[in-house]
Each structure stands twice: as structure tokens, then as C-alpha cells.
Symmetry: C2
Subunit: 189 residues, 2 copies
DNA sequence: AATACAAACGCAAAATATTTGCTTTATGAG
DNA sequence: CTCATAAAGCAAATATTTTGCGTTTGTATT
């Protein structure tokens, strides 16, 4: 039951994929996670269940697939003029998004995927975003721009951690602290 | 389908719970995650499937329940004489445990649980451990002992993040960096 | 210690979901 | 245009999950 990354790009395959994804999104808007079933999705998408089982394996992988899409950043991060500002702006939007009910569900669905690659991919989004912000800061000539690794460990990791385990603490105020620290830390090696 | 936290402590209930947990552990040693089924577990545990469904809801919650147990720290953290040393000792053991194949699975199973409380509980283990190490350090009279929050954000969060998303980086060497930084950071507020 | 009460279990039938073998369709390459 | 093949449809066969109901067994009360 291998998970296909690159389906046939055009034609029926793509149409089916789109129809199924769309059906999932529509049903998710109305039903809770454990009311959702494969046969339901299949019917709404105008597809037989076996098609879904063959392509995605099971419901968990299907909803994870849909959720990863949902988490892909759609727009470029705003440019506030400083790295700290950019981080704060992006982070606040991200926190808001992930604290919402559908955001929470998306997060959960992705985490529930047995496919490690999927989780990693979703996470690369943040990393590539950090890279973008870093390069922007360097281009501006900012000093003491932290390494990518440090940004991830100092900002993304605590944010993710709190979102997953301790939602109460996933706040804009804490975000500010993480950013200040990440930018302030002396090099230690 | 509410998940019962406190089952009847003694007697049959407890016996069933233990038998089922045991059955899961035995089967997990032999079968991959998606070969495991509720009826199988039920049979090995000498219980009817409906008992399991009623008590745990589904397989995902059951294996998550078992895995949370597995992640409960069994022994007191070693005392190396310094906070940094204690953190390193604990962290290395934890990393080793979670990088192993069964450790990885346990981590995945917990993350796949729809029950937030379960994930949080598993996470409290680390927090309470950090509290222990902090108090120990304070009792020794160490200076500049970081707040619990800072230890979690600075050490536990990056560790967890890397374990979940970027296993390659979940190393003892990086752990050392996280610890050094967490202990070195000036207060910023 | 006897009784009452409710929680948890067992059993088995019914309802659903999943898998599978085979056929048909549609796409992309030659 | 034709061919080879990946993906989809269909339907029968399995497997699972759910559910109603009767029974067992802890727990609390007297």
C-alpha cells in the first residue's frame, strides 16, 4: 500500500484527487473527525470507495493529505523592515491559524499520519519560511542574524511544542519572548 | 464514546486493562502497526472486541494509551552534581530511547491520538522532570537556574521538535548546545 | 455481612467498512 | 492512431465496528 507522491499529473487522476480532496473539505466543515468515513467521502466525490482505499490507504492518510495542503503557506510573509518584526508578524498569523478549530484539526490530522514524510514536509514549510526571512534580513544588512538552526530551535520549536502540548502558552506574548531570546543569544559553540 | 480516565481501580476492570495492554505489547513486538487489529488484541487478551471498543473507542486510542505508559519515566534521573550534567544525562537517555524503533512507534502512536489530554499528559512527564532537576539545582545552591518555562522552551521543545520532524538532528551533540544556550541566556522580559 | 446499585463485561446479530479479483476506461508514449 | 499500462469502476467476499440485552462483579450503604 505505497503512498503515491506523483500521480499522473493531468486528466482523470487529477480530477479524482481534486474531487476527493474537495469532498473531504466539505464534509469536515460539517462533521466531526470520527463521524467522517471513507464511503461518505467517496459518495460525495462521485467515486467508489475502493479508489480511495487504493490510493490513500485509509481515512487517516487521506485527511492528513488534505491537511498538509491546507498548511502550505499561500502568500509571501509580510516585510516589516526587521527580522524581529517579520518573525513576530508571521508567528502571530501562524498561531492564530493553528489555534482556530479547523487549524487544530489540521494539526492533529497531520500528526496522526503514519507517513513520516508527510509530517516532515509540513514542517519544511516553516523552515523554508525561516530561510526566506533570514535572507531578507541579510540583504538588509542586519547584524547578528541567527543561523537557520537557531531560528528553528529558538522560535519554531517552542511554538510548535506549545501548540501541540500546551495550547494555553501558544500566545503572541510568548512568541515575542522566543524571538527576543533567539536574536539575543551569544554564539556558544 | 468518552474516554474514561479513572476506571474502577480494583478487580475485573483492572485485570482486563492489564491483559489488554499486555496483549498490545506482545503483538506490537511481532507485527507492524497496520497489521495490528482490535479483534486480534481482544483474542490474545481473552476479551471480546466490544469490551475494547467500549473502553478505548478504537485501536489508535488503545495503542496511544499503551504508549503513554511506556513513556512514563521509571527511574529517578541520575544526579551528576550540576544542572547541565543532569540535563545532558537525562536527555541522552531520552534521545536514545526515542530514536529506537519501538520508541519511534510509541511517539507516533501518542501523536496519533485524537485525545489531546493524552498528548499533554505524556508531555507533563518531561515538565515534572525538569522541575525535579531545577529544584535539585536550587538546593545545591547553583546560580542562574533558568525558569521551568525556559528549560522547556530551550531544551525540551527543540528536542521534541527534532525527534518528531528531523530525526537526524536529534543528537547528543545538539542536546549539548541546547543546554548551554538555555543556561547561558540573559534574562529578557 | 447482606443488599442495592451501577459499571463493566460477554455474547451474538446487525450494520459498516475494507479488501480483492476482474473488467473497463483513459492517458501518455511511440 | 495504436498500444501499453496506470488508475478507476464494480461487486462479491471479508473483516471490522456497533449495538441491544442479559449477566457478572466491584463498590457503597446499612
Amino acid at each position: 500500500m505505497p503512498i503515491k507522491e506523483a500521480v499522473r499529473p493531468g486528466g482523470r487522476s487529477a480530477r479524482v484527487q481534486e474531487a476527493v480532496h474537495q469532498a473531504v473539505r466539505e464534509l469536515q466543515a460539517v462533521k466531526s473527525r470520527d463521524e467522517l468515513t471513507v464511503p461518505q467521502v467517496a459518495e460525495l466525490a462521485g467515486v467508489t470507495p475502493s479508489t480511495i482505499y487504493r490510493r490513500w490507504g485509509n481515512l487517516a492518510e487521506l485527511v492528513a493529505d488534505v491537511s498538509v495542503e491546507r498548511m502550505r503557506p499561500d502568500e509571501d510573509p509580510v516585510d516589516t523592515g526587521t527580522l524581529a518584526g517579520d518573525l513576530q508578524a508571521w508567528g502571530e498569523q501562524y498561531l492564530e491559524e493553528m489555534a482556530s478549530v479547523p487549524g487544530q484539526r489540521a494539526l492533529n490530522d497531520v500528526m496522526a499520519s503514519a507517513d513520516n514524510g508527510r509530517r516532515e514536509r509540513c514542517c519544511r514549510y516553516s523552515e523554508s519560511l525561516m530561510t526566506t526571512l533570514r535572507e531578507r534580513a541579510l540583504a538588509r544588512g542586519e547584524e547578528a542574524v541567527p543561523s537557520l538552526e537557531r531560528l528553528v530551535d529558538g522560535v519554531v520549536a517552542p511554538m510548535t511544542y506549545r501548540l501541540l502540548y500546551d495550547r494555553e502558552s501558544a500566545t503572541a506574548a510568548n512568541l515575542r519572548r522566543w524571538i527576543v531570546r533567539a536574536l539575543a543569544v551569544e554564539d556558544v559553540d
